[in-house]
């Protein structure tokens, strides 16, 4: 009986102290954590527009998503950003799309995914990396080619997938211009499903949002 009491008391005291410690740590860090979350979102949105835009969060609803962002530069409205997600091959692909009022895609940035390494995960593959031998200096890696090829395409029309021209980072500017004209992108070799998920979502969801916004503005 005494033994049982000892056990209960010991566990209770230890747990209470533990709770106090965690509570104190939580207090100290809660603000910073919220800040980090915000910053990550802002970074993601800034990535889809050019530098120097001011982001404002808007409330949507109805045909629009709950939350979306508008971007202004020097007081003029530059475009909107929407966060969309779609099931890819093996996971939800979350990405941020920046469009202007005419539905032209200004930028695309993949936020989170869990696609197959070597296949679908090449969505975030950058054309070149720095080498371990000279990590400082030289060119910055730049944007992933997969998301970069969406810039300039229209989200209001269907985005086609062209498989006969190879991957975008291997094409020349004439071919790229042609692709842009036809509202097409090139797929990642072997990951059609991930590619199609992205294009489908853009033309379906983002196009829908842009149309909804335009009709709202007309009113």
């Amino acid at each position: 009986m005494v033994e049982m009491a000892k056990m209960i008391v010991a566990l209770t005291i230890i747990s209470a102290l533990a709770g106090l410690a965690i509570g104190a740590a939580y207090d100290k860090t809660a603000e910073k954590i919220a800040e980090q979350g915000e910053r990550a979102k802002q970074e993601a949105i800034k990535a889809v527009f050019s530098q120097g835009v001011v982001i404002k969060e808007e409330k949507g609803g109805g045909a629009l998503p709950e939350k979306y962002w508008s971007a202004t530069e020097n007081g003029k409205l530059v475009g909107y950003a929407f966060e969309v997600s779609e099931r890819g091959y093996s996971s939800e692909i979350k990405f941020m799309v920046g469009v202007d009022q005419t539905g032209k895609i200004l930028g695309l940035s993949v936020l989170a995914h869990n696609e197959t390494p070597g296949l679908g995960s090449r969505m975030t593959e950058v054309a070149f990396y720095k080498y371990v031998w000279y990590p400082i200096g030289g060119d910055e890696p730049g944007k992933p080619w997969f998301t970069q090829q969406f810039e300039g395409l229209s989200s209001l029309k269907n985005i086609g997938i062209n498989k006969s021209l190879g991957e975008w980072h291997n094409t020349d500017s004439a071919t790229r211009a042609k692709l842009r004209e036809r509202n097409e992108i090139t797929a990642i070799t072997g990951s059609t499903i991930s590619t199609v998920a992205v294009t489908k979502t853009i033309s379906r969801d983002v196009g829908g949002y842009v149309r909804a916004l335009n009709t709202l503005e007309e009113k």
Partner: protein, 438 residues
């Protein structure tokens, strides 16, 4: 006899009883009774002889692969795989300080089988890597021949598919232009017409596609490594309408196909004729191609005829047991017959789908050469039947319901893992063995 013995005894009074006894026994030794230690039944069959027979059986398939894919795309990977396998086994034996076992030729067989499981024109270093992995990790680490628990060639292929998924799943067409032998054109209007009409894309009108194809040919010099461009060039003349409808499907279907770079027959079945709503009539033109081998796929699996010849040869010389291939092929045939697309069961049409499935993909290769690996398959006759049935059932399930178009390699690997269990369950009862309960 007695006189001889007594003579010997009498003739050596002080020589010692042992010497006398030996002499007596030797004198008594009848000419036809030799006492010796087991084994008493000897055969001239050795491991290397069996391996030679297997290599001979694989020669028709080897020849067929060279015929359909050319020397560079087919023969070079095979030679590289053999060389890498033998070298790896040699080095592994040196490191592990064991007797050199390359004389039993099993490394050559493994090397050929690894190569048979690879797509043609795979970079040679990749083929060598698969071979090295197959021998070093799947075989030597576990003790060499007889110690492996899964088929080394399939383990090598699985490693390569996990490591280099894109090159390992892009199958160039044969030298005679066929990628998948299927009359997609015939099927296209019906199954893909919905997709075409619903596609609002302007990117897939015929002029646009032909345009991009010709520019692809022009760019082929720059992107020779891009097999899609090469294949596009080869198919351009005949397949512009096919690519047309296909890219329309790609634009609007959730699981698109790549008609240009990897549409083997099974791939087309899985992704184009979604949920097996195909019409069996679409397959009949393909059957001839599948049987003789003018079809895209892995190096060794294209010609069903060549593999059949080799398999029957092996069965006839009793190098492999007929039960495993027979059970495997029969199960796949039956399951696809029960699930054929026509709805009827006793018509000629209903046999087309199962025939297609046993001829397509690496089924004959797997059934005759890989599932029958004596180390990784059950020993008992009943066990072998169960093994074959299990492989067949798994292949059917993966091909029909799974995410991969080809199910043979995974089904054999899975059944390899279960083989010891099958052996235990099908152990023959010893006559007179007492039952544990009653």
């Amino acid at each position: 006899m007695n006189t001889e013995a007594s003579k010997a005894q009498a003739g050596a009074p002080g020589g010692g009883a042992a010497a006398d006894a030996t002499k007596a026994v030797r004198a008594f030794d009848p000419p036809f009774l030799h006492l010796s230690t087991p084994p008493h039944i000897r055969s001239s069959l050795t491991v290397s002889k069996v391996m030679l027979a297997v290599i001979a059986a694989m020669t028709p398939a080897l020849a067929a692969s060279v015929v359909f894919f050319g020397v560079e795309a087919a023969l070079f990977p095979i030679l590289v795989c053999i060389a890498a396998a033998v070298a790896t086994e040699c080095v592994a034996n040196l490191i592990l300080r064991k007797r050199q076992s390359i004389g039993d030729l099993s490394a050559i067989v493994t090397g050929i089988l690894v190569a048979f499981n690879l797509p043609p024109a795979l970079p040679l270093w990749m083929a060598a890597l698969g071979s090295v992995f197959a021998i070093a990790v799947a075989k030597m680490v576990f003790g060499g021949l007889g110690g492996n628990f899964i088929n080394p060639a399939l383990a090598g292929r699985a490693f390569l598919v996990a490591s280099y998924p894109a090159p390992m799943t892009s199958y160039p067409p044969t030298l005679y232009g066929s990628v998948n032998g299927l009359a997609i054109k015939a099927a296209a209007p019906d199954t893909l017409s919905d997709a075409v009409s619903s596609a609002t894309s302007t990117s897939v009108s015929t002029p646009a596609v032909a345009d991009s194809l010709t520019s692809a040919i022009g760019a082929a010099a720059d992107s020779l490594a891009d097999t899609a461009a090469l294949a596009a060039g080869k198919l351009a003349a005949a397949a512009s309408s096919v690519a047309d409808t296909v890219s329309a499907a790609a634009a609007s279907a959730t699981s698109a196909i790549d008609a240009v770079s990897s549409a083997t027959p099974l791939y087309v079945i899985k992704h184009v004729f979604a949920a097996n709503a195909y019409r069996p009539g679409d397959f009949s033109p393909a059957l001839k191609d599948l049987f003789f081998g003018n079809v895209g796929g892995c190096i060794g699996e294209t010609s069903a005829l060549a593999l059949l010849i080799g398999g029957i040869f092996l069965i006839s010389i009793r190098a492999i047991d007929f039960r495993i291939p027979f059970a495997y092929i029969f199960t796949v045939f039956t399951l696809f017959w029960l699930a054929n697309g026509t709805g009827a069961f006793f018509t000629v049409e209903s046999l087309i789908a199962p025939t297609f499935h046993i001829l397509a993909g690496g089924l004959f290769l797997g059934a005759f050469f890989m599932a029958t690996d004596p180390v990784t398959s059950p020993i008992t006759p009943m066990g072998r039947l169960l093994f074959g049935i299990g492989c067949g059932a798994l292949t059917f399930t993966i091909r029909k319901y799974g995410g991969y178009p080809e199910g043979v390699s995974f089904s054999i690997l899975l059944m390899n893992l279960v083989a010891p269990l099958i052996d235990r369950c099908t152990r023959p009862k010893i006559y007179g063995e007492v039952k544990k309960h009653g």
